[in-house]
């Protein structure tokens, strides 16, 4: 290991919260680290990766470097990424409990996406539909590949209907389905006609796009096209919002529901944690869209605004301060003094106990460093929680995000459409003259913006990280190993595939897709859970036993115990 040293002012040895950092970090120059990460790769690979590895720089106008993202993974690199199907069926539609999901393909795809993501759901009674524990597949065989699988799919839909009698069935195409030309959409239309329930298909073959992000788009577009707007009944409530991009991993959504409920804010629909078909159908009746995971769903927020007149704001319930801030944003939007007061009461009631625990945990965690390589939002959001206990994120990156998630939404017009993004459908949405209600006039929006409420805005990860932090998109296994050697972080956050290779290095690892176990980590209670969890991970003595006594002290001494 030949990490280059760098002479640099001692002031960079402190993070924004003023906690001292280990000296070794001030000696590491991210530009040198970048060179080292690339050194071993074949020239072509190094060239491509060099655009996805950036030392963060923030200039006086707040501009950050251009980050290459949402580009193809290089074959053989050992990536974290999954596929389009995983994003569509696993992530977006997986958490909805009362739509019967049928995977059209060989058995594996359905099998691997069966209950593995820890997205919790709670039907309101024992009588309510809950299909999440079921895995349905057409289990295609070679004869279906040769002769086509449409007839089998029709029969499967009929059989699923006969068993489950659902209000909706969705069909997910896997790789071979697209190749042999099975048309899941025409089968869906035919069976919808026949059975009289809503049936729709997704062309989410695994090879589409460059990561699961393509699947998120396809899923959300499908829900928007086939379900949203089907139920116009107006829920009686004062402050109605949709929560977009929240997947109720480890019960995050339950905690957010609890807090919003205490504030008197009603959720019309969540996309898609603990969700139901009816919520989606009715979602256009909400008065505000709040976007949690910008990556997976910002375009749905845009479409809901264009078609139905619902404005959207970015919120973040990860971190106690962020939660409080997000609640205040929602209250500001509704401009009702009663709500503003209620929100402040809730925050005031929740914060003291959080502060006690936070301060206690911070004593043991301050100055430690974290690395986050996960998701399309989480690698950004979770930095808040680490910051709250005095830990610094020295390096981070997303698995499947796009440039706007790194550099901020303002780069959207500059993003080039390439061969891989072109085949992901962009819906052309127009104002629905009958259902469109402008929730706010332009003037009202302007006034709220003057008060500091930003609409349709997301800053991205990079402007909110420190200069010199190393940002890596679609990090490879090799780069991960190098980072561990160079930075020796106190904790590394990624997904299940990375977990044990990290821990075998003696470095604790926390999954931030599924959280390993435990949660919620969102909201107020979630923040406390996370502080405690990180305290457990970075301060446990179990990491101190890596050497056996005879490895630490191999010399023999000629002395007997009874002497």
């Amino acid at each position: 290991m030949s990490t280059k040293l760098k002479g640099r002012g001692s002031n960079s040895n402190e993070n924004k919260s003023g906690d001292a950092l280990p000296d070794r970090l001030s000696m590491i120059d991210p530009e040198e680290v970048k060179k080292e990460l690339l050194a071993r790769y074949p020239a072509k690979v190094a060239r491509k990766r060099s655009k996805q590895i950036m030392a963060n720089k923030i200039d006086e106008e707040g501009e950050v470097p251009v980050m290459s993202a949402n580009v193809r993974t290089i074959p053989g690199i050992i990536t974290q990424r999954g596929c389009c199907y995983a994003g569509c069926k696993g992530v977006i539609l997986g958490p909805t409990r009362d739509i019967v999901n049928i995977t059209h393909g060989p058995i594996g795809c359905g099998f691997y996406s069966w209950l593995t993501r820890r997205n919790q759901t709670k039907p309101s009674s024992d009588k309510d539909d809950n299909f999440m524990t079921y895995c349905l597949s057409t289990d295609m065989q070679d004869k279906d590949i040769v002769f086509g699988g449409e007839e089998k799919l029709k029969t499967a839909i009929q059989e699923a209907y006969d068993i489950f009698k659902p209000k909706a069935i969705s069909i997910f195409a896997t790789c071979p389905v697209g190749l042999i030309g099975d048309d899941v959409h025409s089968v869906a239309r035919e069976m919808k006609e026949k059975l009289g329930i809503n049936i729709f298909g997704f062309s989410c073959e695994g090879y589409r796009g460059v990561s699961q992000s393509a699947g998120h788009h396809i899923a959300n577009n499908g829900i928007f096209t086939h379900v949203v707007g089907k139920d116009d009944s107006i829920k009686k409530a004062d402050y109605k919002i949709n929560l977009l991009g929240e997947y109720n991993i480890g019960g995050d959504g339950f905690e957010i529901d609890r807090i919003l409920d205490n504030c008197g804010i009603s959720i019309v629909s969540t996309f898609s944690g603990n969700s139901t078909y009816d919520q989606f159908a009715n979602s256009h009746t909400a008065d505000l869209n709040t976007v949690m995971c910008h990556r997976s769903i910002n375009y749905v927020a845009d479409m809901l605004e264009i078609k139905y007149g619902i404005p959207w704001i970015k919120i973040n319930f990860i971190g106690a301060k962020s939660t409080a801030k997000s609640l205040r944003k929602i209250a500001t939007y509704f401009e009702n003094p009663k709500l503003i007061k209620k929100v402040e009461e809730v925050i005031k009631k929740e914060m003291p106990q959080i502060e006690t625990i936070r301060k206690d945990v911070k004593k043991r965690c301050a100055g430690k460093i974290a690395m986050l390589f996960v998701g399309g939002s989480r690698a950004h959001h979770y930095q808040e929680l680490f910051k709250e206990i005095g830990m610094k994120t020295i390096s981070a990156g997303y698995e499947f995000a796009h440039r706007d998630d790194y550099e901020g939404r303002k780069v959207l017009p500059d993003i080039k459409i390439d061969a891989d993004s072109r085949n992901i459908e962009e819906l052309a949405v127009e104002k629905n003259e009958k259902k469109y209600i402008a929730r706010k006039t332009d003037k009202e929006i302007e006034k709220l913006e003057e008060q500091g409420l930003a609409f349709k805005s997301y800053n991205g990860m990079m402007p909110e990280m420190e200069a010199e932090a190393l940002i890596i998109d679609d990090v490879s296994q090799y780069e991960t190993e190098m980072l561990l050697k160079i930075y020796k972080p106190d904790i590394y956050c990624a997904g299940i595939k990375e977990k044990y290779a990290i821990q075998k290095n003696g470095i604790p690892m926390k999954q931030l897709h599924s959280y390993d176990s435990g949660g919620p980590y969102a909201g107020f209670k979630g923040a406390v859970n996370f502080y405690k969890e990180i305290d457990r991970l970075v301060n446990s003595k179990v990491w101190d036993y890596l050497e056996a006594p005879w490895q630490a002290n191999p010399e023999l001494s000629a002395k007997y115990v009874w002497e």
Binding site: V45, P75, Y134, L136, K497, N505
Partner: protein
């Protein structure tokens, strides 16, 4: 109820699989590849396949599972994956430096008809495979067979690629352990060596997927069959394949290609199957069975006779893989338990016939299905309740809903540890199985006993 839509009304299904009792070929191939020392498995298909297989294996073993992918895009799906695979081979050897890459295909690359053999030849010609390094491959379309088929195909690929006959016997026996846990592979090797036989065991995932915490991660751990051993397998005295579905193909191809005589045995799960395995070893190698092994047999039998009253006549439902279920059913029947419902997701008439043979003398009809699913198993249970369920982790939803004592067995186990450390094969494995069966049944007795019947001594 978690499976609230499952009812007693069994209707025949022609097209829909509900709650599968199998998964697809490539994951079995990936698992087998990990049993070669210094091997990086490679999935020739979309990224998702590789991500899913690595995730499933990682959750089951709680160990690093490294594998690469050809990362197909729409373009490669149209024009073929040759460029992707050649680039992947180059990147893998340059960046990760394995001794060998074991490529398996997917439904995607099979459907478009990629010729992996030709692509690897080209990779060698193009200088992408360093001297002394290897690329092997197996065809594992997901729409044929199951994960067990994939394991079998990759195991066969190992010998087809490497085995040679030099004409000089190596004095060893090839042992193909089947699709079993790393702990089982260690135990099988121990028994073979105790008999004084030198084994070439492949694949061998022991010390790969049950590695120690040392603070020093190595992508290629100590374990795994070596390439030299695989090469030498054509010079062995014979091959014993355990589990016909997972291991017979490789053994037979060694027999037909290099005249290495093979025999196919059931997986040594339970008393009788282990007896047959040990006896086969003894006769094939002309050795006598050491007292230590006979003693272990006696210990297993001792527990069977000591605890007979607690498992006698208990009804059992089972789901799993064919090779395991055949031996397991035989074991249960042999100790007077009553397997009543048996399902495997893997298709094949042989399986149903074997189970029928094993259970034919029982005074009741056994429900058995190859190519079935866990929804069917659950419906059978609803119609005829059981005292014990043996299945992979997905069985816990059935067990909870219908309040059935439950033992996790097979793949995947996502919520408990033990399977990678404690074997369930051979006599010692039989003891562990019995311990688990008795724990489950007797915990239930303890839980349900009225206070006056709650017993200290059982």
């Amino acid at each position: 109820m978690l499976l609230r839509h499952t009812n007693k009304d069994i209707k025949e299904r022609k097209a829909l699989n509900v709650n599968p009792a199998k998964t697809c070929q490539p994951i079995g191939a990936m698992y087998a590849s990990l049993g070669i020392h210094g091997c990086l498995p490679h999935s020739h298909g979309s990224q998702g396949c590789c991500a899913y297989h690595r995730s499933a294996l990682t959750r089951h073993y709680r160990e690093p599972v490294m594998a690469a992918t050809s990362s197909f895009t729409e373009g490669s799906s149209v024009f073929g994956g040759q460029a992707n695979l050649i680039q992947a081979i180059d990147n893998i050897f340059t960046t990760y430096d394995p001794d060998i890459i074991a490529v398996h295909t997917t439904c995607l690359s099979e459907t478009i008809g990629d010729d992996v053999n030709q692509i690897t030849i080209k990779a060698v010609k193009d200088g992408k495979v360093p001297k002394g390094k290897y690329v092997i491959h197996a065809s594992t379309p997901s729409y044929v067979g199951s994960h067990v088929t994939g394991f079998s195909n990759m195991t066969k690929a190992m010998v087809m690629h490497f085995a040679k006959s030099t004409g000089k016997p190596n004095g060893k026996y090839n042992i193909i352990p089947g699709y079993v846990e790393p702990s089982d592979m260690t135990e099988i090797k121990r028994i073979v060596e105790k008999l004084g036989i030198k084994p070439i065991l492949f694949p061998d995932t022991s010390n790969v997927l049950n590695g120690p915490q040392t603070g020093r991660y190595s992508m290629f751990p100590e374990g795994g069959v070596t390439i030299d051993e695989l090469k030498s397998s054509g010079d062995s005295m014979g091959t014993i394949a355990l589990g016909s579905l997972a291991s017979a193909d490789a053994a037979r191809s060694l027999d037909s290609k290099w005249r290495v005589p093979c025999q196919v045995q059931d997986l040594p799960i339970g008393l009788a199957a282990t007896d047959r395995f040990v006896n086969a070893l003894r006769i094939a190698a002309g050795v006598s069975v050491p007292d230590e092994i006979t003693r272990e047999r006696g210990q297993l039998l001792d527990i069977i006779t000591d605890m007979h009253q607690y498992f006698y006549g208990k009804k059992v439902a089972l789901s799993g893989d064919p090779d395991h279920l055949i031996s397991l059913t035989e074991f249960l029947v042999s100790i007077d338990m009553a397997p009543v419902h048996i399902v495997t997701g893997t298709s094949g008439k042989d399986f149903e016939k074997r189970i029928q043979d094993i259970t034919s003398h029982l005074p009741y009809k056994v429900n058995v299905k190859a190519g079935g699913d866990m929804f069917t198993l659950h419906q059978w249970i609803k119609n005829e309740p059981v005292d014990l369920l043996i299945a992979n982790t997905y069985g816990k939803y059935i067990a909870r809903d219908d309040d059935i004592p439950f033992i996790r067995y097979g793949f995947p186990i996502l919520d408990r540890i033990g399977h990678s450390y404690f074997p369930s094969v051979c006599y010692r494995g039989g003891i562990r199985l019995l311990e688990k069966i008795l724990d489950a049944l007797m915990d239930r007795l303890d839980r349900d006993a009225p206070e006056e019947k709650f017993e200290l001594v059982m």
